[in-house]
Symmetry: C2
Subunit: 417 residues, 2 copies
């Protein structure tokens, strides 16, 4: 039986990340899993990443030549990592008696735009894949890569193999796509911090998108956005066992009964505050344009206006980016005549759930739990399905546990009041 | 000035083997050489092999999966080796300020038949390469690989990168193609054995073909045959210095003045003799068919017929193949009712030269030199431009030096008598 209850599933697309294909033995284990799925009567497409540290080693080789290689050549280089895995995976399947064929992106017309190192997929020649599936073969597709109209190799950026997984599944109309990782699924919180964290059976695309942004590293946002767009359910599960993992699916009405699906901690945050900023149009745009030009990724932004017609602009960044951000902001403040302060000891705790849209009292419950423990909230940001609070880093893990308990996330979900 | 005296050469195709591109520093050195050629006003195409031991490592990875992987997948795997080199080489050129672009076989339509692991080239899309050359770029082409009409990756077999070199040069009408290796060129004999050996300035395709078969490892026969077919001169030279190497060219009349161009020693030979073989049609065919089916590569064959209507069939094999050959032959002799003997201590000394066609006394001079030193000749085989003798292995190196001296190969060539 498949996770969504169908027993006559005809096409499974399964993706294995770098750690799942790190050596010959692990590759054979993946092949056995695909064969097991074949034996249940499914057609199988495998999407694979580069073996273990292969990509890092290729990057290191390029950097021995120059610090910023031309992106076209970088893509041509990095794509070899997945090409190695697909051919070896096809060999492993054949060695076990399962006919198989490997494909690079070029060989199945996985056409992208020409934005090297972060290309966007345009189309896939699914006819070629279908022909091989119908001939009884397992098809092994190189993740992460694409090819331009002109035949140049591209790569899809971070999380690119998951984008390939979803794109292949969508174009073939797969019944489910399975994302094999080294975790059992998506948890209500990081089990290393919250021992009572529980694996979630189902979660919506939007919840997954929020949790990814908040520090859950299982699925990259671009893949989830793609899955949402084409309504492809993703089964996040472990390559080490046969347990059911977490299904990432489109929202259905019954899911609103679950107010909060998960909680997340983003540790190692810093906050930059510009005060006495002239409150005139274009100033904020100039600030964030300058930060973007300096390749600084800004997390949350809060702006308030004081009575003296000046504004205070705060934003958070990863602690590792604080040094770069400080240089840019201090130079900006010289030009704008404003003041800057920098805090390096912050963390963000968030709760996420589609049920927030229809249920009240979520924020109150979260703030009360933190207040009762004497944890001071320094900033609040919200979306339709998320509440985040900025607190001191030392209190981050305690706060995550408190919030997780307050919403009883460790218990199986039940209908909300 | 180029080796053949032209100073307005417009297109150079240069090939660098695995040892010349084994690490980032060596790759940069190759890039500097290409740039130097650009600065002399030439357009430059580079053909490169996989870095150092990369191909061996990929083979080892495949063998961790299975001993005889499907050939299509093996080609898909091995082709990544050259793809890594082309992209890194293009980076190295760009890092030095030289615009460059890398191409896999698929990207320049280097179409082959579909005989995986030893495919034959059918055509090249030279328009694509020319467009990039005319735009001022150095074009870096992956050696050893091709692509079928259907888009599958193929490889060209042993010496395949040299086939790519010659094919690219032929299709673009290059003025010369340069084969960079770790030796200075082709020598009159192996300098490690014959200290007086001299680098040959010019040699014909046919002489090179004979010498390759006789143990000179610089250029594989298929590349030389290709060069001969399309009349592409090959300049064999060192990647470690700027010395002129050896030009492999079509035969011209003046080359007949050189009676012997080189001498070679093939060490570690064994001889298998089948005696009392029934002398009827098809027996020899059966013997050599059985050997071929056992993947045993036979060197020279000699058959003599005795008065009693039985034949004696002798052939030489590499010593490393003697064990396999013995098994096959002993089983054959059971069936045919003949006797077999095996000798494992032989070597072959040969002299090669197009001048033999028009000059007499070459064989006599060779045999006399060996006889004077008490070296017994056990077999003689000849072609139009080659004489080979089979002798005891212990006498092989001495025999090579004697023959080299007898033909005065250490001295610059002069008109024959």
């Amino acid at each position: 039986m498949s996770p969504d209850g169908k027993s006559d599933m005809s096409l499974v697309v399964m993706k294995f990340g770098g750690s799942s294909v790190a050596d010959a033995e692990k590759i054979k284990a993946c092949a056995r899993r695909a064969i097991a799925s074949r034996q249940q009567g499914h057609q199988v497409v495998m999407v694979v990443s580069a073996m273990g540290d292969a990509t890092d080693e290729l990057v290191e080789l390029a950097h021995q030549i120059m610090p910023s290689p031309p992106k076209r050549e970088m893509d041509q280089l990095l794509a070899t990592g997945e090409q190695v895995t697909v051919s070896v995976m096809a060999m492993a399947l054949e060695a076990l008696g399962q006919p198989a064929i490997s494909f690079t992106a070029g060989q199945i017309g996985m056409v992208t735009d020409d934005v090297h190192t972060k290309a966007r997929l345009k189309r896939i020649d699914q006819a070629r894949i279908k022909r091989e599936l119908d001939a009884g073969r397992v098809v092994v597709v190189a993740g992460f890569q694409g090819v331009t109209e002109d035949g140049a190799v591209t790569t899809l950026g971070r999380g690119g193999s998951n984008v390939t997984l979803v794109a292949v599944a969508a174009s073939l109309g797969a019944d489910v796509c399975e994302n094999y990782t080294d975790v059992d699924g998506i948890y209500t919180a990081d089990p290393r911090i919250v021992p009572t964290a529980r694996k979630v059976d189902r979660m919506t695309y939007d919840e997954m998108l929020e949790l990814s942004s908040l520090g859950a590293n299982v699925l990259h946002n671009r893949a989830v956005e793609f899955a949402k767009k084409y309504n492809v359910p993703i089964h996040v599960r472990s390559s080490l066992n046969n347990n059911e993992g977490t299904m990432i699916v489109a929202e259905t009405q019954d899911m609103e009964h679950i107010v909060v699906s998960g909680a997340a901690l983003k540790d190692k945050l810093a906050r930059v505050t510009l005060s006495k900023v002239p409150d005139k149009p274009g100033t904020a745009a100039r600030i964030f344009h300058t930060l973007a030009a300096g390749n600084i990724v800004v997390d949350d932004i809060i702006q308030t206006t004081a009575e003296d017609k000046t504004a205070t602009v705060s934003f958070t960044v990863e602690l590792s980016e604080l040094g770069d951000a400080r240089k840019v902001v201090e130079s900006l403040c010289c030009d704008l005549g404003c003041q800057s302060t920098f805090e390096d000891n912050l963390a963000k705790v968030s709760v996420v759930g589609v049920g927030m849209r229809v249920h009240t009292g979520v924020a109150e419950k979260m703030f009360s739990a933190l207040a009762a423990a004497g944890i001071n909230i320094q900033n609040i940001t919200t979306s339709e399905i998320k509440i985040s609070v900025l607190i001191n880093r030392e209190q981050g893990k305690d706060a995550l546990r408190l919030v997780h308990d307050a919403f009883e996330l460790g218990k199986p979900p039940r209908k909300a009041k």
